[in-house]
Chain length 327, copies 5
């Protein structure tokens, strides 16, 4: 299913409607006002192709828009710029990062945005600002709207990263206090998530940078300052991902050393007990032998003397362990 919403706006005008007819956008072209056509869901290929045809979008681009595996990229055309990014969100049930494919194509006075999933996006504040004419969104061109969409997405990355940062901290505490097999599985899962995240955010550096430096007249000089700021945020996201990766890879070493420490403790326990009692058991076994001629057995103080010897041996062993700091 694909839900299509059209917002037409200018400084004085605002209109929002759901499109059912795929030919509808055509009437807005050439437009007096700016329009934003948002697609929730990219399964209704036919409809999307029809609308894209109105905007003269090359079939290869449509293919990119429709394939969720397409990596983030920027493509500049004469009359429009396409940017493909990934939106991130959390699945509250599994605590996993979900990646959603998003394509934004903007031209002179239109923005088309194609979202992979039908539900949920981080654009609600943008819609509110448009509806109630807050900020300068309505007085600016389509490039500023496009920027606002990207900015909302990158801002959302920070929320995701903060959440992951919290998970790392919790894991770190768990690691130092009570590491278990589940801890290592969590670290492994986190590591793989970071590999995925890296793939998502890494290309943004280049994308936003070339948007900032584009020679295209579609991007206004005033907007460039904002894009430059967005670029900064992007770098910060990338650096945070790298920092997290460094931290997670350090956790593995800690885990391995903590397992070794635990094993050391186990072995020490075994060794102390064994080393004390095995010689003693030998001694008691000695006097448990049934030889007819064992003079010690009939000595009056044989038993207490043997007890004393064993006590001395045990004390000697314990002191040695204390000196070795095993106890």
């Amino acid at each position: 299913m694909t839900k299509i919403t059209l917002i037409e706006y200018s400084n004085e005008f605002f209109d929002e409607k759901n499109l059912t007819d795929s030919e509808a956008p055509a009437q807005y072209l050439p437009a007096k006002n700016n329009i934003w056509v948002n697609f929730d869901g990219i399964t209704d290929q036919v409809k999307i192709e029809q609308i894209c045809a109105i905007f003269n979008i090359h079939p290869l681009i449509i293919e990119d828009i429709l394939s969720p595996d397409q990596r983030p990229k920027i493509e500049e055309f004469d009359d429009s710029i396409l940017i493909i990014m990934k939106m991130l969100s959390f699945d509250p049930t599994t605590d996993e990062v979900i990646t959603e494919h998003l394509s934004v194509l903007f031209g002179n006075n239109y923005v088309l945005s194609f979202q992979e999933d039908v539900e949920g996006d981080p654009f609600d504040t943008i819609r509110t600002r448009l509806r109630h004419n807050k900020g300068k969104l309505r007085s600016k061109g389509s490039d500023y709207l496009a920027y606002s969409l990207f900015d909302a997405i990158v801002d959302n990355y920070f929320i995701i990263l903060e959440h992951i940062g919290d998970r790392i901290e919790i894991l770190e505490d768990e690691l130092l206090e009570n590491p278990s097999t589940i801890t290592i599985q969590k670290i492994h899962k986190l590591k793989n998530e970071m590999i995925g995240l890296k793939r998502t955010v890494w290309p943004l550096r280049e994308i936003i940078n070339s948007l900032k430096k584009t020679a295209s007249p579609l991007v206004d000089d005033n907007t460039r300052i904002y894009i430059s700021d967005l670029y900064d945020h992007t770098i910060q996201v990338i650096e945070t991902v790298e920092t997290y990766r460094d931290m997670i890879s350090g956790m593995l070493d800690i885990y391995l050393s903590s397992i070794s420490n635990k094993m050391n403790e186990v072995m020490k326990t075994l060794t102390i007990i064994s080393t004390i009692f095995i010689p003693l058991t030998f001694i008691v076994g000695l006097y448990g032998m049934n030889f007819k001629y064992m003079p010690e057995l009939s000595w009056k103080f044989g038993y207490p003397v043997v007890l004393l010897i064993m006590f001395t041996v045990a004390v000697y062993m314990v002191r040695k362990f204390i000196r070795k700091k095993w106890l």
Copy 2:
């Protein structure tokens, strides 16, 4: 053995035949229509050299075409472009990736493709599209046909990568649930396969990029858009290989930590049993001694008292282990 197939086509014309005579292609030059000469197998060196002579191919290039170890590369000449790539497939019996050497040389209205193996290629859909004039293949030049061949190969990479991705997932489950010596061998094998894969796909970035940016008039501007799309796919293949490499190298750490965990468990079992029973065995050994004068032995409640002591010791030990979370 080398099987040679010639396809001659234009928008209105299509002809397909097996060549037995190595001089045959000469009659098509200078050609009115486009021709595609495909070689299955590169063992029949003489024939290949004869045909290459018709197209004025330099002996060094022929050498590259004939040597399966040649790494992927692009070479631009005045009247033709040579691209060497590797085709991948799965050996269903051993589940191993098989690499096949492929050289494609295309000029103004001809494409020559040299495949290392006699059987199997991913070009069947291209042949069908040519035969039945589907898509725009027949209305376009030889550069578009060459692009289509590369595209088919890169698309095939994704299938291979998906298969490997599945194997990684299965291995990951095996790793977390029931790791064994075979698991590590599988990881090792996968790792070496990824090293090989990297060598195969890494040069493609540069090759496709320079094809995209070539100044050669052999590549039409319309085709460039498609090559740009192909470049995108190539990057995606490379990134996926890198991601897999990262994931596999993470698996090794997990494996090592899981072995350590298992050893920990084994050691704990040993330690618990030993630590409880070794002192008890000492006590029972003590009263197994044969001294004449051991007053406890003749006490009426000697036996139950010793039993009680041993029970107390055992309970104390068990509680200690529980407190240490070893039990």
Copy 3:
């Protein structure tokens, strides 16, 4: 709370006052003398925005100044240059490195500095030099004052790094002499601190370099020599951080090998004791059997012979261990 201090100075003139009125700086513009407005604390957003408005600072820049998470960067405008850095200090109670956000904006004859925290900065010597007209600070322009601020910060980095260097040395000794679980936690903490430090100092290379090479007339040629010197110091800071990172990552390997060594020692102790006494215990158990017909038991020299055999076995074992260098 935000404390604002204004210093007005020229070669002949010096005045220092606390600003309570946010409009106050306006009267100094256009200024005859140089002014330095320092903000301790960035919580009083309204006041800061008012003052920034006087200097025509773009809202996005104000946002950067106010957000402590903003990474270090340089931004050049027509009439001013903004540099964002981090100041480092030690929390004496936890021995942790504290990062403080600092933004410095300087124009033709003014310097604005915004410090995240209300208390403490490394600028006291600069204030003294201004008050008492020491050095050439008062006879130079605002660019030299800005340089002096950066220089004070980078100089302070060296103090922090020296402190960390000391901690590394102490840890290294601890590691070689008496490693414990706490050692690994300290290493881990240090490692994460270095990851943070790297993020703080790494961008400085680029920032100071582009300040050095800026085409802006705001930076005097004489000042450039000093900035070039500052650049040198920055490189040295970065190299030291890298060296420390290398050293810390080496410590982990040492730790792991030292744990393994300890375990080896424990295991050797257990093995030596067990290997000597378990066979002996078997022998004494043998002659503790109650078979009616055991001829050895009634031999006159049975007991001494068995003692001798056991002694021989023990000596043999001990010699073997000595040969294996386990003892």
Copy 4:
């Protein structure tokens, strides 16, 4: 000792002689034919310096030629080009790679080659082709002869690499089937060899590339195609070395995990035996006590009941081990 061989050749002419007089080459200058002066051994410094003087070679270059530690490099002069490379061979007795220093200086119609060792080089086929006028060697200039020498060396690298590849495969099998302390020493040796090999082949990329792109008129355009092919081979050598390095570093992980696995097996054996028999030994010890009042001892079925209990305990343990997959 230094053996000097001079070959004078043109398409119609061929002459080969051993030089005893160091002044001899002078008579060939200015030469009508091409000459190739080959030095086997670089110990006769005086002779080499005399001949180099004839060719106006700078003393620093002579130093490079004479010092076997000199790394590979290219130097272009007005009238000659110097290339220093390493020749590789196998010492059949120790199976080690031997590195031999080679300097080739070629000018308009002469090639000088200086080999570190007196015996053996991979140039025999070149000599044969010159003698019998096979191929186009004699009809081409000195640049083509120089290329042929380099090509022979790089071709020889492949033989060395193949040999190393075989050793890696053998080691890998050994590693998976029966790893021992010798295996790790072999891996270590191989690793160090690869470090050395890397140093030998890595600079070639740059050397051959700058030879390919040189502006010097000494290199004919026709020869450039061959050098380009040589460059390809060089890249392939470098990639193979890198691949081997990756594979070898993977082997170490496998080795460590295989040791851990073995230890696991050892520990399991110990634990199973101990866990089964230690409790049983306690039980039999219990009834070996000599208390006067132990009612069980005089029960008629005391012995069989105890046997039954012990059997039950043993079976329970074994089943538990089977459930844990230790057996």
Copy 5:
């Protein structure tokens, strides 16, 4: 203390004296002959500043000369070039590499060299060549003298590296034959030394390269050839350091695997002894029980039969261990 030596030389003239008066060099300016002023020790700051004033050296440069922590660098001025390097030597008592700060400033006909330590430098051969007019040192300009100093330092690096190479080889033998805790400490120390060495030599690549390519008229074209040769040596030093680093990091893996191997051996010994004797001890314990009704005890062949059973069990175990290759 700072010892100042002045050497004045030209092809025909040579004079060498110790300067006590810091104003002394002034009389040599403008000089007819070349002068070399060498400072042994940089503690006498006042004197150094006075002399530097004569040569118009910027205070920041003097600061660099006086601070031993200054990293290696090159600075070009209109009338002079400053190069800061580190000289290396061995402390024979601790076998540690000692780093000494050296600054060389050379102008049209003077060279100033500032050495951190009072005693010892690698320049004695240069002094001899000057005194006795050996080589072309006296007939060349100050740039050639400066080059000679750098060359002497880099040549000295090779001696240090050779010494380290010897230590690596010794360590490697120790590692394979008899690794101990001291071995790992030596490896660790060596590793940290290499980190320091890297910092010392890494910047040289850039320094010598920009000296080679400088546009300054101070460097004669004839000298450039020598600097180019020096650059070569520098690269070789850097490569050797990298190779050593690679080798040392490989040693750690070997060490860890050798510890594991040793532990394996220890565990095997324990397991073999325990696994053989624990079951036997159980059996002898069994017949040490005091049950009244144990028919086996009164059998005539009870004892020998039990001996036989135990012998069989032991043989079975031993054969199993042999089959597992544990014996």
